[in-house]
Amino acid sequence: MAESHTRSAYGTARQAGGGRRSSRRPAALIFFGAVVAVVLFVWALAAAFEYVDGLVVADSHRVAETGEIVRTRFGGPLTTAEIVDYLPERLRFRPVSWLFWPLQFSLVRDAIAVTGLVGFVSVFTMYAIWWERKVAAHIQSRLGPMRVGGWHGWAQSLADKIKLLTKEDLVPAGADRILYRLAPYMAFTPVLLAFVALPFGTYWVLRNLDVALLFVLAMLGIEVIAVIVAGWASNNKWSLYGGMREASQMVAYESPMGLALLVPIMLAGTLNLAAIGDQQQAGFHMWVVFRNPFAAVAFVLYFVAALASCKRAPFDLPEAESELVAGFMTEYSGFRWGVFFFAEYTSMFVVSGLATTLFLGAWYSPLPAGWGEALAGGGVVARAAHGLLFSGPLWFIAKCVALVYVQIWLRWTLPRVRIDQVLYLFVQVLLPLGMVVLLGNTLWVFLVPEDGIVAVVANTLLCTAGVIVAAAFLGVAVVARARRYRLVGSLAVDHLPGA
């Protein structure tokens, strides 16, 4: 009976939805068109930066050769007239030089880059939240947000943000007003600052610090203080419990995380993230995770600790909706509450970025970058192809987003552990494991020659295992998709709008 009822609902919904289908398609097109447009715009901006760099260098050479003018640095800033001189014949107009002139100053460049980063982080966070809701819904055989915007509720987060902005900003009686108001910004600022040192590509980094890894880790550590302060300042027992749990959890997970991160540092011999990334360009078998068995274990170790550092399930003890209401942010509302979520999803991207840079080949595709050298120096189309096939920020973002997906997936798959189990896991299981991994890696580096037969055999075995696991995963996913009707019964029929 229920079956037939579902059938009839299915039929009518299909008929009713048929008329809307045409209006849904443009929304999807706009969505993906906007993404492509943003990517093209950023590429164009980067090309403009590079072009102006070329002009400045060329001008400094000219000044050095002819000795026309003695200037302090790079021959001083170029004037618009000089830029017009350097432009190719077809583009020799004043307005074009006005476009390029500001780009030679590092302050302007930083302003543009920071604006871009904040924009990227905001959009990423918005869609990560939407994505999390969709993934959670599909894992639980629901559809999730479907209404706002038309195509799979793509504008849901936008609507939520507007709602959050218009909500009242409450401060509970007896709270420490200053610290209560300050805490969300204390959470968000360090995470955003981590992007200063996080490279999206060999040259796509705001500041190429020689201590980039330490800097990013420090920023992730400071975020914890904000959670503790928020919990303390709220004058709420649930909040205080959340803050205390975060403090004890942080004491536990930092040590195994540091030990796991020592492995790629040891293999690379530097703390500079851009340099570590560049060492992995010769194809996926040179990714740190495939270099030796201990590095593979270190990757898993790091990822588990990173889950705890982002307060993600199964280690979301500070939040623990079913135990502590909402943990450290129980009392928060409106914009400040949203800022905490911004911080959480941004830090998910940051820890995924660290994992990508240190273990998973950074911004290089699985193909050896050497194959694409001919494309790298070619025209616009060739360089775009190089960016898509071999290396570039798109690869970095894709890998990070994949790891963020794994975090979301784990959150909706694993049950939350107790706080004593968290402490036990990190201090008594993962910390000794980290020491074993560190020692094993040290011995491996010293005893096994880089190109010896053992290294080749181990590399081959690990790579083969990785490929088989990936293929098996893909196969299971395909089979599961083909059989989803049988897996979850009548719940997974596509009779609801947008399915």
Binding site: D210, L214, F215, I228
Partner: protein, 210 residues
């Protein structure tokens, strides 16, 4: 036990304050690049933040606010280190003090303070001891400030100092380095011994508390 923790907290705050004062007196690098004004602005801004938040630590009697002010002070001093091209020192300052020590202090405060007792109770002889330390520190800092001939050579910003520091630690300064690690190990074991109660396992205790 609570007494000892209070001393640890106080010692941490005071030594961090001393570090703040020490770091803040670093001279502005005589920059010849075009961004001299920006560097000067950054220097004075961060020095002001460090000094003001140091002052706020003294004035405020609320420990959690003190911790937040300390975070600002440590961050500002780390910024000064970055400004002086001492990247490693700045990053370590952030990771060890701002990220690690501060959380431990806060943790201690949260675990030990009862309702209404989150204000520091200072006894008479502690005032005297603190005064002696303060006066000594002040005189010492003034002497350093007045007696040093400030070098005006250009800051030699080496491209990478991490490798140099690491090499120095494991060659020339190996014995002090190892001694420091042994000291830390002794402290760890001592702390574990102090907090241990007979006939009780730690895990269950934690489960009760949280």
């Amino acid at each position: 036990m609570r007494h000892a923790l209070r001393w640890i907290v106080m010692a941490g705050v005071w030594s961090a304050l001393a570090g703040t004062a020490w770091g803040a007196e670093a001279p502005v690098p005589p920059a010849e690049s075009s961004s001299t004004i920006l560097e000067a602005i950054a220097f004075y801004a961060m020095a002001a933040v460090a000094l003001l938040s140091g002052l706020a630590i003294l004035v405020s009697r609320n420990l959690v606010r003190n911790v937040v002010c300390l975070l600002a002070a440590l961050g500002a001093v780390a910024g000064l280190y970055f400004l002086l091209a001492a990247n490693l020192l700045g990053a370590i300052q952030l990771i060890v003090y701002a990220g690690g020590t501060l959380v431990l202090i806060t943790f201690g405060v949260m675990l030990t303070s009862r309702p209404g007792s989150d204000r520091q109770l200072v006894r008479g002889w502690e005032r005297i001891a603190g005064g002696v330390v303060c006066v000594t520190l002040f005189i010492g800092l003034c002497m350093v400030l007045l007696c040093t001939e400030w070098a005006t050579v250009a800051a030699s910003a080496e491209p990478t100092t991490v490798a140099a520091v690491g090499r120095a630690l494991l060659t020339d300064y190996l014995v002090p380095f190892e001694l420091a690690s042994v000291l830390l190990l002794v402290m760890l074991i001592g702390a574990a011994y102090l907090v241990r109660r007979d006939g009780e396992s730690g895990a269950e205790d934690d489960a009760d508390r949280c």
